[in-house]
Assembly symmetry: C2
Homo-oligomer: 134 residues x 2
Protein backbone atom coordinates (compact mmCIF):
# COMPACT_ATOMS: atom_id res chain seq x y z
CA UNK A 1 0.00 0.00 0.00
CA UNK A 2 1.34 3.37 -0.99
CA UNK A 3 0.51 4.86 2.38
CA UNK A 4 2.57 2.26 4.21
CA UNK A 5 5.48 2.67 1.83
CA UNK A 6 5.61 6.43 1.95
CA UNK A 7 4.20 7.24 5.35
CA UNK A 8 3.40 10.68 6.66
CA UNK A 9 6.95 12.03 6.68
CA UNK A 10 6.91 12.94 2.99
CA UNK A 11 7.93 16.51 2.34
CA UNK A 12 8.71 16.48 -1.39
CA UNK A 13 5.86 18.68 -2.68
CA UNK A 14 5.47 16.84 -5.98
CA UNK A 15 5.17 13.52 -4.19
CA UNK A 16 2.82 14.95 -1.55
CA UNK A 17 0.56 16.21 -4.34
CA UNK A 18 0.80 12.87 -6.10
CA UNK A 19 -0.17 10.93 -2.96
CA UNK A 20 -3.13 13.24 -2.40
CA UNK A 21 -4.33 12.80 -5.99
CA UNK A 22 -3.81 9.05 -5.85
CA UNK A 23 -5.83 8.70 -2.65
CA UNK A 24 -8.55 11.01 -3.90
CA UNK A 25 -8.93 9.05 -7.13
CA UNK A 26 -9.19 5.76 -5.30
CA UNK A 27 -11.67 7.24 -2.84
CA UNK A 28 -13.84 8.48 -5.72
CA UNK A 29 -13.58 5.07 -7.34
CA UNK A 30 -14.75 3.40 -4.11
CA UNK A 31 -17.67 5.83 -4.12
CA UNK A 32 -18.75 4.52 -7.52
CA UNK A 33 -17.17 7.08 -9.85
CA UNK A 34 -15.29 6.35 -13.04
CA UNK A 35 -12.05 8.31 -12.70
CA UNK A 36 -9.21 9.53 -14.90
CA UNK A 37 -6.28 11.78 -14.08
CA UNK A 38 -4.51 14.11 -16.46
CA UNK A 39 -1.32 12.87 -18.07
CA UNK A 40 1.80 14.16 -16.31
CA UNK A 41 3.58 14.60 -19.60
CA UNK A 42 2.62 14.89 -23.21
CA UNK A 43 -0.13 17.41 -22.68
CA UNK A 44 -1.26 18.38 -26.11
CA UNK A 45 -2.32 21.96 -25.69
CA UNK A 46 -5.91 21.31 -24.64
CA UNK A 47 -7.24 22.35 -21.22
CA UNK A 48 -7.11 19.59 -18.61
CA UNK A 49 -7.95 19.49 -14.92
CA UNK A 50 -6.03 17.16 -12.57
CA UNK A 51 -8.91 14.70 -12.28
CA UNK A 52 -12.03 13.94 -14.31
CA UNK A 53 -14.61 11.83 -12.46
CA UNK A 54 -18.10 10.82 -13.52
CA UNK A 55 -20.97 8.98 -11.89
CA UNK A 56 -24.43 8.29 -13.30
CA UNK A 57 -24.10 10.92 -15.99
CA UNK A 58 -22.74 13.62 -13.67
CA UNK A 59 -19.28 14.90 -14.47
CA UNK A 60 -16.89 16.48 -11.96
CA UNK A 61 -13.52 18.05 -12.72
CA UNK A 62 -11.08 18.67 -9.90
CA UNK A 63 -7.94 20.74 -9.48
CA UNK A 64 -5.94 19.35 -6.55
CA UNK A 65 -3.97 21.54 -4.15
CA UNK A 66 -1.90 20.15 -1.33
CA UNK A 67 -0.35 22.99 0.67
CA UNK A 68 -0.60 24.66 4.07
CA UNK A 69 -0.96 28.37 3.35
CA UNK A 70 -3.54 30.48 1.54
CA UNK A 71 -3.11 30.73 -2.23
CA UNK A 72 -4.60 32.22 -5.37
CA UNK A 73 -5.78 29.89 -8.11
CA UNK A 74 -3.88 30.88 -11.26
CA UNK A 75 -6.00 32.47 -14.01
CA UNK A 76 -5.05 29.81 -16.56
CA UNK A 77 -6.27 27.07 -14.23
CA UNK A 78 -9.53 28.94 -13.67
CA UNK A 79 -9.95 29.24 -17.44
CA UNK A 80 -9.28 25.51 -17.96
CA UNK A 81 -11.83 24.51 -15.35
CA UNK A 82 -14.37 26.97 -16.76
CA UNK A 83 -13.92 25.48 -20.18
CA UNK A 84 -14.81 22.03 -18.85
CA UNK A 85 -17.88 23.50 -17.20
CA UNK A 86 -19.00 25.20 -20.40
CA UNK A 87 -18.15 22.51 -22.93
CA UNK A 88 -18.78 19.36 -20.94
CA UNK A 89 -21.44 20.52 -18.51
CA UNK A 90 -19.10 19.49 -15.68
CA UNK A 91 -19.07 20.88 -12.17
CA UNK A 92 -15.58 22.14 -11.31
CA UNK A 93 -13.95 22.06 -7.88
CA UNK A 94 -10.70 22.87 -6.20
CA UNK A 95 -9.84 20.14 -3.69
CA UNK A 96 -7.61 21.55 -0.97
CA UNK A 97 -5.72 19.17 1.30
CA UNK A 98 -4.22 20.42 4.52
CA UNK A 99 -1.90 18.12 6.47
CA UNK A 100 -3.73 15.62 8.69
CA UNK A 101 -7.14 16.87 7.45
CA UNK A 102 -9.67 15.48 5.03
CA UNK A 103 -9.66 17.33 1.69
CA UNK A 104 -12.18 20.12 1.38
CA UNK A 105 -13.92 20.90 -1.91
CA UNK A 106 -14.51 24.43 -3.15
CA UNK A 107 -16.80 25.15 -6.07
CA UNK A 108 -15.12 27.01 -8.90
CA UNK A 109 -17.93 29.58 -8.96
CA UNK A 110 -17.30 30.42 -5.31
CA UNK A 111 -13.56 30.63 -5.94
CA UNK A 112 -14.14 33.02 -8.84
CA UNK A 113 -16.51 35.15 -6.74
CA UNK A 114 -13.68 35.36 -4.21
CA UNK A 115 -11.21 36.64 -6.81
CA UNK A 116 -9.47 33.26 -7.06
CA UNK A 117 -8.26 33.60 -3.46
CA UNK A 118 -8.40 30.54 -1.25
CA UNK A 119 -7.65 30.73 2.46
CA UNK A 120 -8.84 29.15 5.67
CA UNK A 121 -11.70 31.62 6.28
CA UNK A 122 -13.01 30.97 2.75
CA UNK A 123 -12.57 27.25 3.35
CA UNK A 124 -14.67 27.41 6.51
CA UNK A 125 -17.40 29.39 4.75
CA UNK A 126 -17.66 27.58 1.43
CA UNK A 127 -15.91 24.23 1.77
CA UNK A 128 -17.83 20.96 1.42
CA UNK A 129 -16.88 17.33 1.92
CA UNK A 130 -16.36 14.74 -0.78
CA UNK A 131 -19.81 13.24 -0.16
CA UNK A 132 -21.47 16.49 -1.20
CA UNK A 133 -19.77 17.21 -4.51
CA UNK A 134 -22.54 15.73 -6.66
CA UNK B 1 1.72 21.29 -37.31
CA UNK B 2 2.27 17.68 -36.38
CA UNK B 3 0.96 16.51 -39.74
CA UNK B 4 3.49 18.57 -41.65
CA UNK B 5 6.32 17.42 -39.41
CA UNK B 6 5.54 13.75 -39.55
CA UNK B 7 3.75 13.35 -42.85
CA UNK B 8 2.04 10.23 -44.09
CA UNK B 9 5.12 8.01 -44.28
CA UNK B 10 5.04 7.12 -40.60
CA UNK B 11 5.20 3.40 -39.98
CA UNK B 12 6.15 3.19 -36.31
CA UNK B 13 2.92 1.75 -34.88
CA UNK B 14 3.16 3.61 -31.58
CA UNK B 15 3.62 6.92 -33.38
CA UNK B 16 0.88 6.14 -35.88
CA UNK B 17 -1.48 5.46 -32.99
CA UNK B 18 -0.33 8.63 -31.26
CA UNK B 19 -0.91 10.77 -34.35
CA UNK B 20 -4.40 9.29 -34.76
CA UNK B 21 -5.27 9.99 -31.12
CA UNK B 22 -3.83 13.49 -31.31
CA UNK B 23 -5.86 14.37 -34.41
CA UNK B 24 -9.00 12.80 -33.02
CA UNK B 25 -8.73 14.77 -29.78
CA UNK B 26 -8.23 18.04 -31.61
CA UNK B 27 -11.13 17.24 -33.95
CA UNK B 28 -13.41 16.56 -30.97
CA UNK B 29 -12.22 19.79 -29.37
CA UNK B 30 -13.09 21.70 -32.56
CA UNK B 31 -16.52 20.09 -32.39
CA UNK B 32 -17.08 21.61 -28.95
CA UNK B 33 -16.08 18.73 -26.69
CA UNK B 34 -13.93 18.94 -23.60
CA UNK B 35 -11.30 16.23 -24.08
CA UNK B 36 -8.76 14.32 -22.01
CA UNK B 37 -6.55 11.42 -22.95
CA UNK B 38 -5.32 8.70 -20.63
CA UNK B 39 -1.83 9.07 -19.18
CA UNK B 40 0.75 7.03 -21.10
CA UNK B 41 2.53 6.09 -17.92
CA UNK B 42 1.72 6.00 -14.26
CA UNK B 43 -1.61 4.29 -14.64
CA UNK B 44 -2.77 3.64 -11.14
CA UNK B 45 -4.75 0.47 -11.48
CA UNK B 46 -8.10 2.01 -12.36
CA UNK B 47 -9.82 1.36 -15.71
CA UNK B 48 -9.11 4.01 -18.33
CA UNK B 49 -10.06 4.36 -21.98
CA UNK B 50 -7.73 6.15 -24.42
CA UNK B 51 -9.90 9.26 -24.59
CA UNK B 52 -12.64 10.77 -22.43
CA UNK B 53 -14.69 13.47 -24.17
CA UNK B 54 -17.76 15.31 -22.97
CA UNK B 55 -20.14 17.84 -24.46
CA UNK B 56 -23.24 19.36 -22.90
CA UNK B 57 -23.47 16.71 -20.21
CA UNK B 58 -22.96 13.77 -22.58
CA UNK B 59 -19.89 11.65 -21.93
CA UNK B 60 -18.08 9.55 -24.54
CA UNK B 61 -15.18 7.18 -23.93
CA UNK B 62 -13.10 5.97 -26.85
CA UNK B 63 -10.61 3.19 -27.41
CA UNK B 64 -8.46 4.05 -30.44
CA UNK B 65 -7.20 1.46 -32.91
CA UNK B 66 -4.99 2.29 -35.84
CA UNK B 67 -4.30 -0.83 -37.89
CA UNK B 68 -5.10 -2.37 -41.27
CA UNK B 69 -6.33 -5.86 -40.50
CA UNK B 70 -9.28 -7.27 -38.57
CA UNK B 71 -8.76 -7.64 -34.83
CA UNK B 72 -10.44 -8.73 -31.61
CA UNK B 73 -10.88 -6.20 -28.84
CA UNK B 74 -9.15 -7.66 -25.76
CA UNK B 75 -11.46 -8.69 -22.91
CA UNK B 76 -9.76 -6.37 -20.43
CA UNK B 77 -10.36 -3.38 -22.73
CA UNK B 78 -14.02 -4.37 -23.11
CA UNK B 79 -14.32 -4.59 -19.33
CA UNK B 80 -12.71 -1.15 -18.85
CA UNK B 81 -15.05 0.49 -21.35
CA UNK B 82 -18.06 -1.27 -19.82
CA UNK B 83 -17.09 0.02 -16.41
CA UNK B 84 -17.15 3.60 -17.72
CA UNK B 85 -20.55 2.97 -19.23
CA UNK B 86 -21.92 1.58 -15.97
CA UNK B 87 -20.31 3.94 -13.50
CA UNK B 88 -20.23 7.17 -15.46
CA UNK B 89 -23.20 6.73 -17.77
CA UNK B 90 -20.81 7.18 -20.70
CA UNK B 91 -21.27 5.84 -24.21
CA UNK B 92 -18.26 3.74 -25.22
CA UNK B 93 -16.82 3.44 -28.72
CA UNK B 94 -13.96 1.85 -30.54
CA UNK B 95 -12.55 4.29 -33.11
CA UNK B 96 -10.88 2.38 -35.93
CA UNK B 97 -8.55 4.23 -38.29
CA UNK B 98 -7.57 2.66 -41.59
CA UNK B 99 -4.83 4.30 -43.65
CA UNK B 100 -6.07 7.21 -45.78
CA UNK B 101 -9.63 6.85 -44.40
CA UNK B 102 -11.63 8.80 -41.85
CA UNK B 103 -11.92 6.99 -38.52
CA UNK B 104 -15.05 4.91 -38.06
CA UNK B 105 -16.77 4.60 -34.69
CA UNK B 106 -18.17 1.32 -33.41
CA UNK B 107 -20.44 1.18 -30.39
CA UNK B 108 -19.15 -1.06 -27.64
CA UNK B 109 -22.51 -2.86 -27.43
CA UNK B 110 -22.28 -3.80 -31.10
CA UNK B 111 -18.68 -4.94 -30.63
CA UNK B 112 -19.71 -7.14 -27.70
CA UNK B 113 -22.63 -8.58 -29.70
CA UNK B 114 -20.06 -9.47 -32.35
CA UNK B 115 -17.88 -11.36 -29.84
CA UNK B 116 -15.34 -8.53 -29.70
CA UNK B 117 -14.40 -9.13 -33.34
CA UNK B 118 -13.88 -6.12 -35.56
CA UNK B 119 -13.37 -6.47 -39.29
CA UNK B 120 -14.27 -4.62 -42.46
CA UNK B 121 -17.68 -6.28 -42.91
CA UNK B 122 -18.63 -5.36 -39.34
CA UNK B 123 -17.28 -1.85 -39.97
CA UNK B 124 -19.50 -1.47 -43.03
CA UNK B 125 -22.56 -2.72 -41.14
CA UNK B 126 -22.21 -0.91 -37.82
CA UNK B 127 -19.68 1.90 -38.27
CA UNK B 128 -20.71 5.52 -37.83
CA UNK B 129 -18.92 8.82 -38.41
CA UNK B 130 -17.64 11.19 -35.74
CA UNK B 131 -20.63 13.50 -36.21
CA UNK B 132 -22.99 10.75 -35.08
CA UNK B 133 -21.38 9.62 -31.86
CA UNK B 134 -23.58 11.73 -29.58
Amino acid sequence: MLHALIGDFVVNPYRKGYVFEWRLMHKLYEMGYAVMRAPRSGRIGLPVPDIVAAKNGKLVVIECKSREGAFTLPKDQIAQLQEWEKRAGATAYVAWKLARKQPVFLRLNDVIDNGGNIGKKFLAEKGIGIDDII
